[in-house]
Amino acid sequence: MIPAAVGYVRADSAQAAVAALGEHGDEAKLLAGGQSLIPLMRLRLARPSMLVDVGRADDLRGISIDGDAVSIGALTSHSDLEHSADLVAACPLLAHVASQVGDPAVRHRGTLGGSLAHADPASDLPAAVLALGGTLVATGSGGSREIAATDFFTGFLESALAVDEVLTGVRVPVSTGGWSYQKFNRRAQDWAIVGVAVAEGGAGVSLVNMGSTPLRASAVEAAVAGGAGAADAAAVAVDGTEPPSDNNADPAYREHLVRVLTERALVAAGA
């Protein structure tokens, strides 16, 4: 549990972070809340040679609502999402999902951008952003670009971000239609064994821990769009998944769970 030696620089703005990444190349890692990166470093599973700490880059923090769009700075903590009255009103699914992450200590440090950039298929927030049809904003030396959430997660712990890019913000639509997040775990603070997020009465459905990336359940969405009831739509929740195996669940049990949870989520969301 002792990390290897690592260099450290602070970057107190998005621009400074981009510059630091440019300088240190692929040896460098951004440090946001540290709730995923530091444990990996302590186990020596991650060994960056330089940490670029954006923890105090205040221009990357905050929630603003403009018409139909909610813009959230990448450094906004899970706790801030959970407790923002504006977000609870404009996008209750996202605020609720944030409240289901880990424990209070984790939620105070962990950030939305970190959670997305880490691209862990077992994480909660990527599912919310996927179900909501969100857009991610990446900034690199060449400027900013937008990436649809559906294109962002490219592999296990891999995203569409280039090595010198900083995820600066996330945009989700205002979404007050029927929603639900079904997180199935054994202890309150744990990652989901399986999770299902539903937005807008089933227009957006996504799955947690059912493959190597956070997944959008397109088959379920299509079934709902085609007028299927919750049970019938949930029956195709397994389509396109490759559920992992661990102490808590083998693939068959995950497949069972994902159908059950999808049905429950759709019912709760009024589909």
């Binding site: 002792i2 064994i193 808590n248």
Partner: protein
């Protein structure tokens, strides 16, 4: 609460007083091993075998030596001459027990993933960790023995020189023919097999060691996060050949142990050896992942219990057969752990005939040893789950089958079929009270309603009653069990010149609250403020004699010694007071801190005056030594036998298999209570720890002997969020074997809650055809059991 006579008159014992220990613990003022500031200390890091079973064909430490800050690196061979004796196992339960030699650093072969194969010494913890990566070990992996069944088959013999994986077989069958006859004649013959999964003790503070040598005069101070500084001192002296009088062992604040720090560990002996060799302080702090493989684990046995009963469900015989997993080596008391349950597989039931056999085997897994309850949770689990099976067979309720079999109150002291004498007990009221607390009848009605309505959320009620033997232990009984030490405890009570009090105890707290309780016992008798009583412990230079803390022994053995030493001091003070008052010592009484002559209220002298007179020694009676101090060593005449009844209520979602603990009630009886708040805390914590075995915790190993639950994300220790409000009460049946009438409560919750929850889980699912359930009852396990029984909505 039953009203009984109490030996306490001071009004302090029995109060729910806040713990003295807590301000320092809560503010961080308390110092744990890793907080010690030891300038110039070298850090040790251990190269541990990644293989469960492998030959070591070579160890090359040169890469480590090239790392900045690394001072030295050693293989097992390099240190082979250092050890005078192997790591100790103090409980050779049979004369022919097989005990593989076990040294701090393995040579030739690694026998579990985590076995130390080399060690790096460096100027910082970071450099030591970097150094680990430079050590190259040439392993030749061998087939690993992971299950007790595979071990028993001797397919692969782990310790070739022993010729077998079986360490010992230990039978306790007073009347073999009688037992056989009883089973033949029985109307009901229940046979159940249960597996107690391995558990990782996971105290809040992992282990840690620091050794400060004084090379010129030969002194050595060993700091260790241990439950047993006194035992450790003796064992370390023997293992390393350090003169015992030169060795001082200190357990600083210790963040929990649950039995896993009741041991003599490789790292303790290793750090001593390295401190000797390098002549400077040496330290090691265990990481959480390291702790998962290198600190002993608990439980790990397969048990078969058979019950013989007549048509009414009255037990006529009990037979228990165990196959216990010792792990790769025998740690300090591991062989004896099954024996601590050996006498209790008939629970608190009146059974004439009894048979117990335990076979213990080696596997290529982390060594096991005592874990909260040690043997008694296993025994209670078997009999209490078995009783539920019997209830079903007989067709009566889980409460009724127990009531029919309880040892009747008038039979105490009870000669048990296993050869013990249960000191005192009154079992039915505890069960009645637990049923009342949980609202048994209403819950049963609710269960019936749900079943009738075809609900897929099933309600289950589970009872577990228990009796345990604790207060380890009468030394003569330990001798008869081949244990390598006694079971006494030592205490000193010293009234200082200013009438403040020092108490020295040989019991070693690591979270229990001895300072609070011991000071209450003394203050109650002396009539002083408990805050004026300081309890000293856990340092062999201050408390040279002791047998430490485990087996719910501290109060009934160590506390009794405190009580007796206090009486002795009072006696001496009375002699001096009588001299001052020109009265007879026998005519004096001490109440509220004042000695007075019975019947003449004006003739009095405060204890403070006596204490000062004892100090100045200007005018003491002839033959009386100055100062008020007494030392007592108490060896109990018997164990104590706390008991109680616990009831769990669970809700199970048939569709997902998720089990939700929704209600819990317990009525425990630990005799007289010193501090009811501390008793309640022990029960609550114990219950949660036992529920954890039922629902969450399991050291998962794959077929290669790799631990797949080596961190707290994968090893599911419950958090506060998993705890529910518990309905707790108690009865009071004092123990007649000690003057305070106390019994012990450190393990009770852990003992009773596991079977209570599992009985509730099975009860909930019985309509679906489920008759058994493996632990932990994880959602997948439960769902699979439902499906296997042919049920399960989807």
């Amino acid at each position: 609460m039953t009203v009984t006579d109490t030996p306490f008159a001071g009004g302090i014992v029995g109060e729910a007083r806040l713990r003295k220990e807590d301000p320092a613990l809560l503010t961080g003022e308390a110092k744990f091993i890793d907080d010690l500031d030891l300038p110039g200390a070298l850090w040790v890091a251990c190269v541990r075998s990644p293989h469960a079973h492998a030959r070591i064909d070579g160890v090359d430490t040169s890469g480590a030596l090239a790392v900045d800050g690394v001072v030295a690196a050693y293989s097992g061979e390099d240190l082979a001459d250092t050890w005078v004796a192997p790591l100790p196992c103090a409980w050779p339960v049979t004369d022919d027990m097989k005990n593989p030699s076990h040294f701090p650093v393995a040579q030739g072969k690694a026998n579990y993933a985590g076995d130390i194969v080399a060690v790096v010494v460096a100027t910082s913890r970071y450099a030591a960790a970097d150094g680990l990566e430079g050590v190259v070990v040439d392993y030749e992996p061998l087939d690993a023995v992971v299950s007790v069944e595979d071990a028993e088959s001797d397919r692969v013999v782990i310790h070739e020189d022993l010729g077998t994986n079986v360490s010992y077989e230990w039978p306790l069958i007073p009347d073999p023919e009688g037992v056989d006859a009883a089973f033949e004649a029985a109307t009901h013959h229940i046979t159940e097999t249960y597996v107690h999964q391995r558990l990782i003790p996971a105290p809040m503070e992992p282990r840690g060691v620091a050794v400060v040598p004084a090379p010129h005069n030969g002194d050595m101070t060993l700091y260790s996060s241990t439950q047993i500084p006194h035992v450790l001192k003796v064992m370390a002296a023997l293992t390393l050949g350090v003169p015992e009088q030169k060795l001082r062992v200190i357990a600083p604040s210790v963040g929990g142990g649950f039995g896993c720090k009741l041991n003599v560990y490789a790292e303790e002996i290793l750090c001593m050896a390295l401190a000797q060799r390098h002549g400077v302080p040496v330290r090691w702090t265990e990481s959480r992942t390291e702790a998962a493989g290198s600190t002993i684990q608990g439980r790990a046995q397969r048990q078969t219990i058979e019950l013989a009963a007549d048509a009414d469900g009255k037990l006529t015989a009990v037979r228990a057969t165990l196959l216990a997993d010792m792990g790769a080596y025998l740690q300090l008391v591991a062989p004896g752990v099954p024996l601590l349950g050996a006498f209790l597989y008939h629970g608190l039931y009146d059974v004439p005939l009894y048979a117990f056999t335990c076979k213990s085997v080696f596997t290529n897994l982390t060594p096991t040893d005592a874990y909260r309850g040690a043997g008694r949770p296993e025994a209670t689990y078997a009999i209490e789950r078995g009783m539920d099976a019997l209830a079903v067979a007989v067709g009566v309720g889980a409460d009724e089958i127990r009531s029919r079999n309880f040892i009747p109150t008038e039979k105490f002291p009870y000669d048990s079929p296993a050869g013990l004498v249960f000191d005192s007990g009154n079992y039915q009221p505890a069960l009645d009270r637990a049923k009342e607390l949980i609202g048994w009848d209403a819950r049963m009605a609710e269960q019936a309603e749900r079943r009738a309505a075809g609900s897929t959320t099933h309600l289950g009620l589970g009872i577990s009653t228990y009796v345990e033997m604790c207060g380890l232990a009468p030394s003569r009984v330990l001798a008869s069990l081949n244990y390598g030490a006694g079971g006494w405890e030592s205490a000193t009570v010293r009234i200082l010149p200013t009438c403040k009090v020092q108490v020295v105890t040989g019991a070693t707290p690591h979270g229990q609250g001895h300072e609070t309780c011991w000071s209450m016992i003394v203050a109650d008798r002396l009539g002083v403020d408990p805050d004026d009583v300081e309890v000293l412990h856990s340092d062999t230079a201050i408390s040279p004699l002791g047998m430490d803390t485990y087996g719910s022994r501290s109060l009934s053995v160590g506390g009794t010694a405190i009580w007796m030493a206090t009486e002795k001091v009072v006696e001496k003070a009375a002699t001096i007071a009588a001299h001052m008052l020109e009265a007879n010592p026998e005519d004096l009484e001490l109440m509220g801190g004042v000695f007075s002559v019975k019947g003449s209220p004006d003739a009095e002298v405060p204890l403070a005056g006596v204490a000062f007179a004892a100090f100045t020694a200007h005018d003491l009676p002839d033959g009386v030594e100055p100062n008020l101090q007494a030392q007592v060593t108490w060896d109990p005449p018997n164990f104590t036998f706390p008991f109680g009844a616990h009831i769990a209520v669970v809700e199970i979602d048939e569709v997902t298999g998720a089990v939700d603990l929704v209600d819990y009630a317990a009525c425990d009886d630990c005799g007289n209570q010193i501090n009811p708040m501390i008793v309640e805390g022990q029960i609550q914590g114990g219950i949660v720890q036992g529920v954890a075995q039922a629902l969450w915790e399991e050291a998962v190993y794959d077929e290669d002997g790799q631990c797949r639950s080596a961190n707290l994300a994968d090893y599911l220790v419950p958090s506060a969020a998993e705890c529910i409000d518990m309905k707790l009460d108690h009865t009071v049946t004092p123990s007649p074997t000690n003057p305070m009438g106390v019994k012990g409560i450190g393990e009770a919750g852990t003992i009773a809650s596991t079977p209570a929850v599992m009985n509730a889980v099975v009860d909930a699912l019985r309509p679906l055809g489920v008759t058994g359930m493996a632990m932990p009852a994880s959602p997948m396990t439960v769902r699979r059991a439902i499906e296997a029984a042919g049920g399960g909505a989807s």
